[in-house]
């Protein structure tokens, strides 16, 4: 009942000085709002990253050319050959998709439009590894690859760049580096991710590209699509074994190629986001502490103002503890109310920001509970001194305080 009395008395005191209470908690409100918004921003960024990775389809490992080293001596750049890709494909230990590619920029012409665009020579399986689907027509097949046929699949943005529409360019010929290629398909819009712009590219069969367009048998890199739950370490070891045999690398010698697991990068990015979030949230948290000092200040004023009330309560039998709890509860309540308003404000700001920027909205429940708890702790910490001051007042003197 005493605790209830403390709450009622605190609420009535806050209500009777509503403007002062609001101004006092303003720093707490802003602090909590900032903390909440920053933490929410961090987790929204991570959620966006997750969605991007999901878009990526199955997990992809990338084998790229490296350097041949013997000890400290670098012997030059060793390319990856199309044959390396076929050697990997012949292996049947793993359920993987081997997708080598070569890409270069070439002039592309259609009617009067003339653009310089990225041309990518790849196997039909590339579209599956990347999870790209056609919107018009079809993708090329293995026969067209082995036959070095002059066919091309366009990224979604290419028709527009050639000043035409998908319907008008499908089944027509475009000139790539002066030679005619038949447009057999146009991809759906995929959206551009950090290091790729699939909508901007033109896709030709790998062997067509190698022989007719680029004049090389060396591939830029080999993408290897593996299943999400695949044992990546084991797969990397298989790749290494096959390519070492292929490149005739003796025992003890270094690899002349690199294998990267790009999902590692997203882990790194996630970590960086986490550190950054913690840092800014920490800085914002300082304003909560500053707000606590404001609360302490106002509580001291309140104790002085209510000296007679404290004297009366003591005369009626309030113990040291009862007076302490009354004022501490008031300080905590001030901070918690401020914290709740701040959470609401921070969440709203994040929600608005997320909807304007088209980000996913994520607000961890733990952040909400955490910041309100922290506000309560601030109230407790900065409420103790004023409350002690109140509890120590001499009842005989404070009853007659003017």
């Amino acid at each position: 009942m005493l605790f209830k009395e403390s709450i009622i008395s605190a609420l009535s005191s806050i209500r009777s000085n509503i403007v002062r209470s609001f101004l006092t908690t303003l720093a707490i409100i802003i602090g909590t709002a900032a903390v909440i918004a920053v933490i929410g921003l961090g987790s929204s960024a991570n959620k966006a990253l997750d969605e991007q990775i999901d878009d990526f389809g199955p997990r992809t490992l990338v084998v790229s050319p490296g350097q041949n080293r013997r000890g400290a001596v670098t012997k030059g750049f060793i390319p990856l050959d199309i044959k390396d890709a076929y050697a990997l494909e012949k292996n049947e230990e793993h359920n993987w998709m081997i997708s080598p590619y070569i890409s270069r920029n070439r002039q592309v012409k259609f009617n009067n439009a003339n653009i310089n665009q990225r041309i990518r020579g790849n196997l039909p399986i590339h579209f599956k590894v990347r999870g790209y689907d056609v919107e018009y027509g079809r993708i090329f097949n293995d026969d067209e690859n082995f036959g070095r046929k002059r066919v091309v699949v366009l990224g979604a943005a290419v028709p527009k760049e050639l000043k035409t529409s998908p319907q008008n360019i499908l089944d027509k010929e475009v000139l790539i580096a002066g030679t005619g290629y038949k447009v057999i398909g146009i991809l759906e819009e995929e959206g551009n991710t950090g290091w790729q712009s699939p909508d901007e590219e033109l896709y030709v069969p790998l062997l067509t590209g190698a022989q007719r367009l680029f004049g090389t048998k060396n591939v830029d890199s080999i993408n290897i699509g593996v299943e999400k739950d695949a044992n990546v370490d084991e797969i990397m070891m298989s790749i290494e074994r096959i390519l070492r045999a292929q490149h005739d690398i003796g025992p003890g010698a270094d690899n002349d190629f690199n294998i990267n697991d790009y999902s590692q990068f997203s882990d790194l990015r996630r970590q960086a986001t986490g550190i950054f979030t913690a840092l800014i949230a920490g800085i914002a948290g300082i304003s909560l502490v500053v707000g606590g000092i404001g609360v302490m200040n106002i509580m001291l004023v309140s104790v002085t103002e209510r000296t007679r009330e404290i004297g009366l309560r003591k005369a009626l039998g309030a113990t040291h503890k009862a007076i302490m709890s009354q004022f501490i509860v008031e300080a905590i309540l001030l901070c918690v109310i401020g914290g709740c308003i701040g959470v609401f404000l921070g969440t709203s700001v994040l929600y608005l920001l997320a909807s304007f920027q088209d980000w996913p909205f994520a607000m961890p429940f733990s952040a909400i509970v955490g910041s309100i708890t922290f506000s309560a702790m601030v109230g407790l910490f900065f409420g103790i001194w004023p409350a002690r001051k109140a509890a120590k007042l001499d009842p005989a003197i404070s009853l007659r305080y003017e």
């Binding site: 009942m1 005493l2 209830k4 009395e5 009535s12 009777s16 007679r308 009330e309 009366l312 309560r313 003591k314 005369a315 009626l316 039998g317 309030a318 113990t319 040291h320 503890k321 009862a322 001499d394 009842p395 005989a396 009853l399």
Partner: protein, 225 residues
């Protein structure tokens, strides 16, 4: 014997000077007495009330309340005695402005740890006794001065204290309502309530049964009416 003091002294340090407010008070009060403590301001009557009201402790001498020595009790033990044994009525009523009459009367019960439903019943009973049955949900600003003082008296009575201290209880009231309040005190005294009135008004003091005059920290006279 409810109150018994021997050679009660209280001094205050004012700057570098030591001021003796009480210079040796010997006072005994029996149960069901109705007495007035009179004296001009500065005579020490407020200091005496603070000490026998357990709001303050003496620097010398002994004070027994209900045959218990209260000199050396801790602040919290004194708070408990004030809560259980003493009811205060003040000149300026000292009600909590934002609280209803009922809540004001319940306050001592809250500090006594009485359960809320019991406290409500007890508070309603005493408000009944002082004639405010229909005013229990009014806040002090909605009550007249006389009604406010009745709420304060109800609050003083609610824990069934051994003594009621009334410090100039009619000082802020017109003579008519002042008389009403005095009649209420007389009525309570007839029911056996011990009441100590602190006043500087002769005609108020005359309505009690015993008058003690304090002057310069000593009892000057002590007589029954």
């Amino acid at each position: 014997m409810i109150i018994s003091t021997q050679n009660l002294k209280r001094s205050f340090q004012v700057g570098s000077e030591k001021v003796e407010a009480l210079k040796g008070i010997n006072l005994s009060v029996e149960k069901s007495e109705f007495l007035s403590i009179m004296g001009p301001s500065g005579s020490g009557k407020t200091t005496l009330m603070n000490i026998i009201g357990c709001l303050d402790t003496p620097t010398e001498g002994t004070y027994h309340l209900n045959n218990n020595l209260v000199n050396d009790l801790s602040d919290d033990e004194l708070a408990r005695i004030r809560n259980k044994e003493i009811g205060f009525v003040f000149q300026s009523f000292h009600l909590l402005a934002k609280n209803s009459a009922l809540n004001n009367v319940m306050l001592p019960l809250k500090y006594a740890g009485v359960r809320e439903d019991n406290a409500i019943t007890m508070a309603k009973n005493v408000l009944d006794k002082v004639g405010l049955t229909n005013r229990i949900n009014h806040s002090p600003s909605e009550l007249s001065g006389g009604q406010q003082q009745r709420v304060a008296i109800a609050r003083a009575l609610v824990n069934k204290p051994s003594i009621i201290f009334a410090d100039e209880p009619t000082g802020n009231l017109d003579s008519q309502t002042g008389d009403d309040v005095m009649n209420l005190f007389k009525e309570l005294n007839e029911q056996g309530q011990t009441i100590i009135l602190i006043t500087h008004e002769e005609d108020i003091a005359r309505q009690s049964k015993r008058i003690i005059n304090i002057k310069d920290g000593l009892i000057e006279s002590d007589y029954k009416i």
